[in-house]
Symmetry: C2
Subunit: 148 residues, 2 copies
Amino acid sequence: MSNNQFKRGELYSVINNMASTAVARRMQKNFRRAGLDITIEQWSVLYHLWKEDCLSQQELCNRTFRDKPSITRLIDNLEKQKLVKRMPSKEDRRINLVCLTETAKELQDRTIELANQTMSEALVGVNKEEIETVKTVLQRVYDNLTGN
Amino acid sequence: MSNNQFKRGELYSVINNMASTAVARRMQKNFRRAGLDITIEQWSVLYHLWKEDCLSQQELCNRTFRDKPSITRLIDNLEKQKLVKRMPSKEDRRINLVCLTETAKELQDRTIELANQTMSEALVGVNKEEIETVKTVLQRVYDNLTGN
DNA sequence: GACATATAGTTAGTTATGCAACTAATTCAA
DNA sequence: TTGAATTAGTTGCATAACTAACTATATGTC
């Protein structure tokens, strides 16, 4: 087994566990510290709804890179906490539109500020071109593996 | 809220969900296709043991970026599948050394080959400098957030 | 030597993930 | 227009994640 092969294994390990876990943990911690009782996964759903409200669950799957059961349960929990509501679509009765409540709308600025803080801490010493490269590469990896 | 702030949020989303999920799913799929009944998380533990056998659980926490309960249960499951054994350390009776079984040793070449295949598919169209940049940035992010 | 502190590992509880199998609504085609 | 195939969403099952609280062993200090 060549040295090069192990290096690829290490890269996998890096991509898959290291930074993402650290970022998620820190953001979660910052939420808790601010008295916000939402998980980082719930936040990532809200984040997309703040950009565009009342998306279908399928659309949330696409945008958050999750499968349908994961979104079903995330929405279940967000509904329990009264942060979103499922609204049946009038055009297609199979579809639930997931819409923000007033409570969730009020959280937007506060939590995005916390997310930005976390990313600032995370990206100390990283320049813009490097960030662009990371985004490009990870997007490429995703596209390569999902056939988009 | 400035445009720049949203961009950082998007970067978070990318780092945290996209590529890592796609890579993990594909690798898992390749394992299943090859008739290997191990999860990608279990593989990541085995991967470190193949590099150095008989590590303590704490050492596995450090190397796989997991907390202690996560490692406890991963080792529980790996033990059930007879891929590792907990051996009490002779120097320090608090410590369990986690050692590979023969079965696990035999899996090494096969699964690392599968992992390399997956990474090759993932990294089509990505050059060496870009890979280096991603590794550097993600390591930097991790260090920034964990105080190492 | 005894007690406080630190370290290694486990357990309980909640949330989340992936897959497979399912229901219900819609679309497409003979 | 009826029946097959597709699409949206849910449920059950197994694994995994994090936190908090716990036990047991080791260390360090008075």
